[in-house]
Amino acid sequence: TVAQGINNVLDKFKGRGTLNEENIQEGLREIRMALLEADVSYKVAKEFIKKVTEKAIGQEVIKNIRPGQQIVKIVNDELVELMGGDNQPINYNKKNATIIMMVGLQGAGKTTTTAKLAMKLRKEGRKPIMVAADLQRPAAVEQLKTLGRQLNIEVFTDESTPVRVCRRAVKYANENNFDTILFDTAGRLHIDDELMKELEKIKKKTSPDEILFVCDSMVGQDAVKSAQEFNNRLEFNGVILTKLDSDTRGGAALSIRGVTGKPIKFVGMGEKLDELEAFHPDRMTSRILG
């Protein structure tokens, strides 16, 4: 693990004294390597190491604690703080039905997560309706309808355009006393201008209370590009990181948080519809540090 690696390196600097830039350098090199291997963005890792260096330099070497342990603690605390705020709830609408819009790249897990979130909100006493706004992927509507049947949660469908489906869904939901509306949108590339404009139009016409960027936790360095562009275009409220039941280190979590400043609200921990959990920065940190 990173902790062991650093301790081995810094054990060479036993004894009293202060942590200075020189004796920290090797340890930080180890940490930077670990972050990169964990898929943390190159730029975000660089900035992070700078912050840790500043925090570490000049600190008294605490007696009975190896310098390595001290560095690891600084790194750990800094990561937890960076990804912090582990209880960022959904922004509910105080007057009308709450509108939640799920967006992201192809295959990230939006449709599955829409159903998971609907199930969770119903457990909390809400009355959700899911909206099949992906009219492009083969059998996408069928996929959401199947999940709706499994959960006994209604799915709104319409044959027009994604923008119209969403608008009509809001009208239907309000007429039928649903208090939560979840839009499942088609996966798309952040560089597909036409499709990104479509999302902007849905946002403009329906004013969602919550836009959630659904992202595959196994993604590498590209995470920053897609997250940044989706955020620039839509100003999303939060992130849902999926497939964390894999053995990926999940450095994308730090990258996305680092470049967008937006919180990770939930994590997908499996394919079953009850496998959606709250995000815990301390758990994510120990995972990234491996």
């Binding site: 790249l105 590339l189 993604v219 360095q221 590009k225 897609s226 894999s246 990926t248």
Partner: protein
Amino acid sequence: VGLGRTIDDDFLEELQSTLLSADVGALITTKLIAKLEDDWVGKKIDDNEQIINYLKQELHHTMGKNPPDIDFNQKKPHVILVVGVNGSGKTTTIGKLANSLVKDGKKVLLGASDTFRAAAAEQLEVWANRVGCQIVRQNEGAAPATVAYDAAEAALARDIDVLIIDTAGRLHNKKNLMLELEKVFNIINKKIPGAPHEVLMVIDACTGQNALNQVKTFKKDVKVTGIVATKLDGTAKGGVLLAIQRDLGVPIRYIGTGEGIEDFDKFDKNTFIDALFS
């Protein structure tokens, strides 16, 4: 005659950033830069392009020669098992591959062995209709191995040239799911000796270093023979493919460049390496 200068540190930093940001990986990048420094120590260069070309040659060399193209004529039916983690693009890739084979005059049959995910068979059916090929499927909840068996049996009975079997996405660290996949592999092998002749693993080009764990496990459990890298129409460079082909010895066969039926190409090493530096 250029006056020449040694490589400057800013340029080395830039190269490191380029390679890391392309998902080439920290270990490979460190080794490459170290070799670069060794080979060019004290030597003068006229412009940075020389260094880029040197690196491209290095990568070319380390990726090795590509094996000969898949020969879909050598066995009948030629059986392809398609595997990979969730959402990588397997079902879509099958549609594209089937299309190119049908256009080549082959009689293609698809097996909808993903009996778990909502509307998985329906999704493959849409592709079969678009391509104009046959499909074998059952209802959700049937055992994947049963559908694979039925598809193999149908391929033999219906004089099929190429049988492509779609499987459910699964994480390589889920032991029970990998065992399920081995069952599918084994039942195909029992029904058609020598099959599957090709096990194509589909990988999302955005995947980070975890891709190596994925390939290692799938290769061990179901003998992956080739890789399809999808979503290369995005901004991801797919740098992990370097280690996959070089260190794990699995050749990259095809790439997916979009969601349309024609967005499918043979992997080209030159295009790939050039793109890493663009």
